[in-house]
């Protein structure tokens, strides 16, 4: 759990690690090629909803683990938002003690099977790896190894249920069941609190369920984690919108003494261009929710969804990639990404961009829609694009796209998915009087303990950061759990 160099050093000096290091020469370790993740064939997988990545075999994992030279100064850890002891878990894999590897991950990461699949490792741990930094070679495949260890544990049927402190009967409410809420619930229940997670939707999991598709993160994997939390004593209440079904005051009257809000960045943005409300134009949230949460593409589910032949997805993030690849899988002949900057600036995980390219997604970079047109039934049938070029860098450091005059042209489409970002869900911010909100609508918190200006209200994840990542939401959840614990000890127990 601790994040200090002495602790990492003490662990590294353990006999088994010393012995392991001497077994293979560093030269030999660094001469190996990075493992390649086995995948479904692109032309088969773009017609099914099964997972694209098949997972490393034991032999592949051990061999990849051997590439890691167990650096005296493991810089990879600095790139991990939750400070996983990366060399330790990798060396356990090398030693073929896969269950210990999984246990190591779980010291700081409650959802390793999820993070191994969806974290942007190339800008986190793997960016700080000795291979990337010093050798200018492909990093150790930390993400693939994380997934391997977590999957091994799950498939072994020997999932370790963490120890739970004696129940103290102090009630804590968690609002939202995405990764932020789940991580906080896990830590709080371990400390002995009675934890209730309130979720507005009929399913637990937040974006992990309604947003990220099966082919990238199967629901079963999320459900295993949720069931573990249930076994640990976390209570889940679905169909409950805090601020609507009950107010904070009502919940306080029912005995809840502290709140963690992880209500996400659920409000989809549109571009406010003419024609954007035509039939067949969805937000990515709507499109993905219909398909992932509501099963709309399956014959025996009641919710409908439109199937497009020529589908344009506007945006360059993970959500855009998920939408366009979903449209392809649902039969689109042309599935296009329309993004106003170049390929290099796309915020999606690199792996998703590669996968999308392999699956036959068209990338129309340096293009932006300016208007949509529809047939007499109101169904979109054409979009007008404007070409862009890259100008001076903007405040984000990325080069700003500048429209090229008289560059407009039309493309036939029968479905459009707008995926240009999300704003914080305003439900909770507007339900609490006097809560400190930033000008972006996110909840303002003290980053050390995630406490808002209302002392019993803590918050984290996308509702604090705007659209961010799974791992950051989880890190916030854990941080907030510690903050809530300290708050309760100070104010109530003493």
């Amino acid at each position: 759990m601790t994040n200090n160099p002495e602790y990492f050093k003490a662990e590294r000096d353990q006999e088994w690690r010393v012995a392991l290091r001497s077994q293979i020469k560093n030269k030999e370790r660094t001469s190996r090629e990075r493992v390649k993740m086995p995948e479904q064939d692109p032309n088969i997988r773009n017609k099914n909803s099964l997972e694209v990545n098949l997972g490393l075999t034991e032999e592949q994992a051990v061999s990849e683990a051997q590439r890691c030279i167990d650096c005296p100064n493991p810089t990879c850890i600095t790139g991990c938002p939750v400070g996983i002891n990366i060399p330790k878990f990798i060396k356990y894999i090398e030693a073929r003690d896969f269950l210990s590897a999984a246990k190591t991950l779980k010291e700081t990461n409650s959802l390793p099977a999820v993070c191994g699949r969806v974290c942007p490792q190339e800008v986190q741990c793997e960016a700080q790896c000795f291979y990337t930094q010093k050798l200018k070679k492909p990093a150790v495949a930390i993400g693939h190894l994380e997934r391997f260890a977590a999957d091994f544990e799950r498939n072994s049927g020997k999932i370790s249920i963490p120890e739970i402190a004696e129940r103290n009967n102090i009630k804590v409410a968690v609002i939202g069941s995405g990764p932020g809420g789940l991580a906080a619930a896990g830590d709080l229940v371990k400390m002995g609190y009675s934890v209730t997670v309130f979720e507005a939707l009929h399913e637990i999991g937040g974006v992990l369920k309604y947003g990220i598709p099966e082919f990238r993160l199967p629901n079963d994997i999320v459900d295993v984690e949720i069931n573990n939390l249930r076994k640990m004593g976390v209570e889940f209440i679905t169909n409950f919108v805090v601020g609507k079904t009950s107010s904070f005051e009502d919940l306080k009257a029912k005995g809840y003494v502290a709140f963690f809000t992880a209500s996400g960045a659920g409000l989809p943005r549109f571009m406010n261009i003419p024609g954007e409300n035509y039939v067949g134009i969805f937000s990515s949230n709507e499109y993905l929710t219909r398909v992932n949460l509501m099963g709309a593409a399956k014959a025996d589910y009641d919710t409908p969804v439109l199937f497009g032949k020529n589908v344009a997805v506007i945006g360059g993030g993970n959500t855009a990639m998920d939408s366009v690849r979903t449209a392809k899988r649902l039969g689109a002949e042309r599935a296009m990404i329309v993004y106003r900057r170049s390929l290099d600036e796309m915020p999606a995980r690199i792996e998703e961009i590669h996968h999308a390219q392999e699956e036959g997604i068209e990338f129309m970079n340096l293009n932006s829609p300016v208007e949509y047109f529809a047939d007499e039934s109101g169904r979109v049938n054409r979009m007008r694009l404007q070409k862009m070029e890259l100008g001076e860098p903007d405040s984000s450091g990325r080069r700003r796209p500048v429209p090229l005059t008289s560059s407009e042209y039309d493309v036939d489409v029968d479905m459009v998915v707008v995926s240009v970002g999300v704003s914080p869900n305003p439900l909770i911010p507007s339900a609490v009087d006097g809560l400190n909100i930033t000008k972006w609508g996110t909840i303002h918190v003290n980053p050390d303990n995630m406490q808002s200006n209302i002392s019993d209200l803590f918050a984290g994840g996308d509702i604090v950061r705007g659209g961010a990542t799974v791992i950051l939401a989880m890190g916030d959840g854990r941080n907030a759990a510690a903050g809530i614990h300290a708050y309760i000890q100070q104010t109530l127990v003493n």
Partner: protein, 275 residues
């Protein structure tokens, strides 16, 4: 899971259900709605809360069979469980005293109109209500509406009850005869469109309660978006009530038809399974 306590068949296609939902019954105000889902593979549909009893912990919904899901809801019986009910959602009606309010309810829109009529009456307004439907059978909740209205005018397409004619005929009669300070219209989109055109002509501020397609009902998806005064609004969180004169009803009508073919086909298949 929420239990059905009572059921009344208003007509072959319109049913009233009383459902156990204590938290919602506590919090609900006129204008609020719930999202309901039947079965694991069901669809989420919005239904306005027509009445609630906080003591008994129940809410009342009035549902018309129009598609697979509403049909499934109507087929439930006392003792049955509804898989998912969430709410109360949306903004409550702004209840205030403005003088004389002309309330227009079309078909199953009479059900969501009832709590508003009741609250507006209790706030001291004079209430003139026009209820309209295709025929006598589809005029629902007439007695309850009468209890909170100073006057009720009934309009049916076929003249089987009240006067023969459209809702707008009844409304115009009132507008011509007395000073109307405000109007409220709830019913099919097309009815609200014409009601709104009428009151615009007479410069009477009007509220319409929009019945868009919804998925989550919490502002997360934008399926429910409409244009109101050149701005895109989400009906589930910004509404369901809006200034009718600002609503783009033509866009609303097109968007309501988004899944027309899919729905028709699914409904036909579903009806076959019932036989």
């Amino acid at each position: 899971m929420n239990k059905i306590i009572d059921k009344v068949n208003f007509s072959e296609n319109v049913v009233k259900l009383v459902i156990e939902a204590p938290d919602i019954a506590q919090k609900r105000k006129a204008g609020h709605f719930v999202i309901v889902k039947i079965g694991e593979k069901g669809e989420r549909i919005p239904l306005t809360i027509s009445q609630a009893d906080p003591e008994k912990g129940t809410i009342t919904l009035v549902i018309q069979k129009v598609g697979v899901t509403s049909h499934k809801v109507c087929n439930l019986n006392p003792g049955d469980l509804i898989t998912d009910v969430v709410g109360p959602l949306g903004q409550a009606t702004h209840i205030h005293n403005s003088g004389t309010i002309l309330c227009a309810g079309g078909g199953v829109g009479i059900a969501p109109l009832l709590p508003i009529v009741e609250a507006m009456k209790k706030a001291g307004n004079r209430i003139v209500t026009v209820l309209a439907a295709r025929n006598k059978e589809l005029i629902i909740l007439e007695d309850q509406i009468r209890a909170y209205s100073d006057e009720v005018i009934i309009m049916t397409d076929d003249g089987s009850h009240g006067n023969k004619g459209l809702v707008t005929h009844g409304m115009e009669e009132v507008i011509k005869r007395e000073k109307v300070n405000e109007a409220i219209a709830i019913g099919p989109a097309i009815m609200m469109k014409f009601a709104s055109l009428l009151t615009k002509k007479y410069n009477i501020p009007t509220v319409a309660s929009l019945n868009t397609i919804m998925v989550d009902g919490t502002g997360m998806c934008g399926a429910c978006r409409v244009t109101v005064g050149d701005k895109t609004k989400f009906v589930c969180v910004d509404g369901p009530e809006f200034d009718a004169h600002q609503v783009d009803f033509d866009e609303l009508l097109l968007r309501l038809g988004a899944y027309k073919n899919e729905e028709k086909q699914a409904y036909e298949q579903y009806l076959e399974t019932l036989n």
